[in-house]
């Protein structure tokens, strides 16, 4: 028996819609096996992971809080991937955005600075993220250096810069030597939506970003250019679209969104700058982008789903002693299944036995 791919005459629309669902289904089956191997009851474990967080108000808010950075970053990444530009350094752009915004928060701390502080922080975060993302984009456009490797290397650099700042110049003098800045002033904090809750203004910004991306891709010429450059580079050249300019644009936008997500995370749920502000949002967002089929609405749903796995993973660790790394394994497996199922959109899978072929060849 041999697996053979047969190209479909055209993209299958039905499969394009159901393939993420098939992928999630297959992932759940695989996870059940993994839970059983770890000696946990798969049904109970899946319940803790995927059902329990949906049943109380606190967890629901927490899902929205976690989904906020994931969705914002993934929207930006989807623009890059649609244009066939591979930004995989969103994690670094997220950290740099957080650092740049925090700079304003730290410098205005304890002063009479008014309500301009938070908007200035958000702008600084987005600008820094965009500039940081433009480094690999420029290296690619000007010198032809692989943007995949350069954008990833800059993640480590951003991480070390943040580490230096909170251990050195920005450390809270009253912080018992912990590597963290002082708590941000109220004017430097993203306001919560419900008094005493966790849900904050950032989630609204994320929804605006989703809507804007939808309009951009569906209703504007720039959006059309981005998609054509990715799918048919030759056609794009004949159409007079500037591919290099689109690489710079998509990298800048995705960097800005990652940077904005970074400063919102620091000025919102965390409240100060410290190492480890991201549990790998920049990398998980890659999965979100693909699971959402590089489509803004799809990304919103996929972001909420992956946020659910973060919350479920934490609860499973507390109540069932399941290691946190299971969440990462889950995310990796999910991405594999998503990519594999996407292959079904373009190809038909056929199992053929080798025997008849041999006969034909003999004849």
């Amino acid at each position: 028996m041999q697996l053979v791919l047969e190209k479909r005459a055209e993209r299958s629309r039905t499969i394009a819609l159901v393939s993420p669902l098939i992928a999630i289904g297959l992932t759940l089956v695989t996870m059940s096996v993994l839970f059983a191997v770890l000696g946990k009851n798969p049904i109970t474990a899946l319940g803790v992971y995927f059902i329990a967080p949906l049943t109380d108000g606190y967890s629901l808010q927490e899902i929205a809080v976690k989904a906020t950075p994931l969705v914002m970053i993934a929207i930006g990444l989807s623009l890059c991937y649609l244009a066939n530009a591979w930004n995989i350094g969103a994690e670094g752009q997220f950290l740099i955005g957080a650092v740049a915004g925090s700079w304003i928060a730290v410098k205005t701390q304890g002063t009479e600075a008014g309500h301009w502080v938070l908007p200035a922080m958000l702008v600084a975060g987005a600008a820094a993220g965009a500039l940081y993302a433009l480094i690999p984009a420029l290296c690619r456009v000007k010198f032809g250096a692989s943007e995949i490797l350069t954008s990833l290397m800059l993640v480590y650099v951003a991480d070390l810069l943040l580490d230096y700042l909170v251990r050195g110049p920005w450390r809270d003098p009253a912080g018992f030597n912990f590597p963290t800045t002082a708590e941000f002033d109220p004017v430097a904090t993203v306001p919560v939506l419900i008094e005493g809750g966790r849900l904050h203004l950032g989630s609204i910004i994320a929804l605006v970003v989703v809507a804007a991306a939808f309009v951009l891709l569906d209703r504007t010429i720039k959006g059309f250019e981005i998609r054509v450059v990715g799918v048919a580079p030759r056609a794009a050249r004949f159409g007079g679209f500037n591919a290099n300019q689109l690489i710079l644009l998509t990298f800048a936008v995705s960097g800005a969104l990652a940077g904005l997500a970074g400063i919102i995370e620091v000025a919102g749920p965390i409240g100060h700058l410290q190492p480890g502000i991201s549990p790998g949002y920049g990398f998980t967002a890659i999965i979100v982008a693909f699971l959402g089929r590089l489509n803004p609405v799809g990304i919103l749903i996929a972001g909420l789903f992956l946020a659910l796995t973060f919350i479920g993973g934490e609860q499973a660790q507390i109540t069932m002693k399941i290691p946190l790394d299971v969440t990462k394994v889950f995310q990796g497996i999910l991405l594999f299944y998503v990519l594999a199922c996407d292959s079904l959109i373009l190809y038909r899978f056929k199992l053929v036995s080798a025997a008849p072929q041999v006969q034909r060849a003999a004849r």
């Binding site: 995949i148 490797l149 800059l154 990796g332 991405l335 594999f336 990519l339």
Partner: protein, 305 residues
């Protein structure tokens, strides 16, 4: 022992995992497959290598566990990209994400355990030669193995018929297919070789470099190995130079930190990563005349039977 001697010894040790992983990736890419999952295969190799060595008490069994683990990871990659014709970049990223999770899961119960690292070669008379003795005749087996491997790969790629066929698959898979060569099978073997090398490179870290396993201990070495292949213009000879240069950067920044140079340690630690970016830019720039990359690198091939 002289400081220079100590530095050279530690440069060799730091370079070996880079050289091993990059050797595997070089063969994979020469066959036309871009496997970005080197970091993931390495870290799983590190976890399984340590687990194997700790349970069996044997470094060799540990190294074999690392190789097998890396190969198993690469089988997933091969099934996806060769079998199902999925985008290689995305699959490589998935492999890295999965690898980081799996290694944490496998390695969790070994964190805090220690083993005796691989023994160093000791030949009476030779190893005692002042200055060069320990550098040439006092390394662990992995160092010699990594050098033997890259020589073997050079010989295979440029001096054997099979190597020529492999390079043909990487440069033009349609022609190779038309000539009757089994492109996908050759690529599968190349991917497996790359996985084994990455697994061994990962296993080197807890088996010879440090005597323990910590999560995330590969610290981007897999990505640097990928950059090294570009640096080497896909040629084995330059790969050795590149790997040792990068090892040297890593070690020199460590020594500079130790000597208390007035630069914050984080900036020194960022050096290898910044160096990678700069080298990639300089090389890509020097190469504007025409790319030396295998022509079919990273492209999907579906035979039309």
């Amino acid at each position: 022992m002289l400081l220079v001697e100590a530095i050279i010894l530690s440069v060799l040790a730091a370079s070996t995992p880079l050289l091993l992983a990059a050797t595997g990736e070089l063969v994979t890419e020469r066959a036309g497959v871009l496997n970005l999952g080197v970091e993931g295969m390495m870290i799983v190799g590190a976890a399984c290598g340590f687990a194997g060595a700790w349970m069996s008490g044997s470094i060799i069994i540990g190294a074999l566990c690392g190789i097998v683990a890396g190969m198993l990871m690469s089988v997933i990659f091969a099934f996806m990209t060769l079998g199902l014709a999925v985008n290689q970049v995305a699959t490589g990223l998935a492999l890295t994400i999965l690898g980081i999770g799996l290694s944490g899961l496998i390695g969790a119960r070994f964190v805090g355990e220690r083993i005796t690292t691989a023994p160093k070669l000791a030949i009476r008379g030779l190893t005692d030669i002042p200055l060069v003795g320990r550098i040439l005749f006092g390394e662990d087996a992995f160092v010699y193995l990594s050098l033997a491997l890259i020589v073997a790969v050079w010989w295979f790629l440029y001096r054997t018929r099979a190597g020529l066929v492999l390079r043909a698959c990487g440069d033009n898979h349609v022609s190779a297919h038309a000539l009757g060569y089994p492109v996908l099978r050759i690529r599968l073997l190349a991917v497996l070789f790359g996985g084994g090398c990455a697994g061994l490179a990962g296993a080197y870290l807890p088996l010879a470099y440090t005597p323990f396993f910590i999560p995330g201990m590969t610290a981007g070495r897999g990505w640097i190995a990928l950059a090294l292949v570009v640096f080497a213009s896909w040629r084995p000879g330059r790969l050795v130079i590149g790997a040792y240069l990068f090892g040297a950067v890593t070690i020199l920044q460590l020594h500079a930190q130790g000597a208390g140079v007035g630069i914050p340690s984080q900036f020194m630690s960022a050096l290898p990563y910044l160096a990678t970016v700069i080298v990639l830019v300089l090389l890509s720039r020097a190469r504007t005349g025409g790319s030396t990359a295998p022509a079919a690198l990273g492209t999907v091939f579906v035979p039309d039977r």
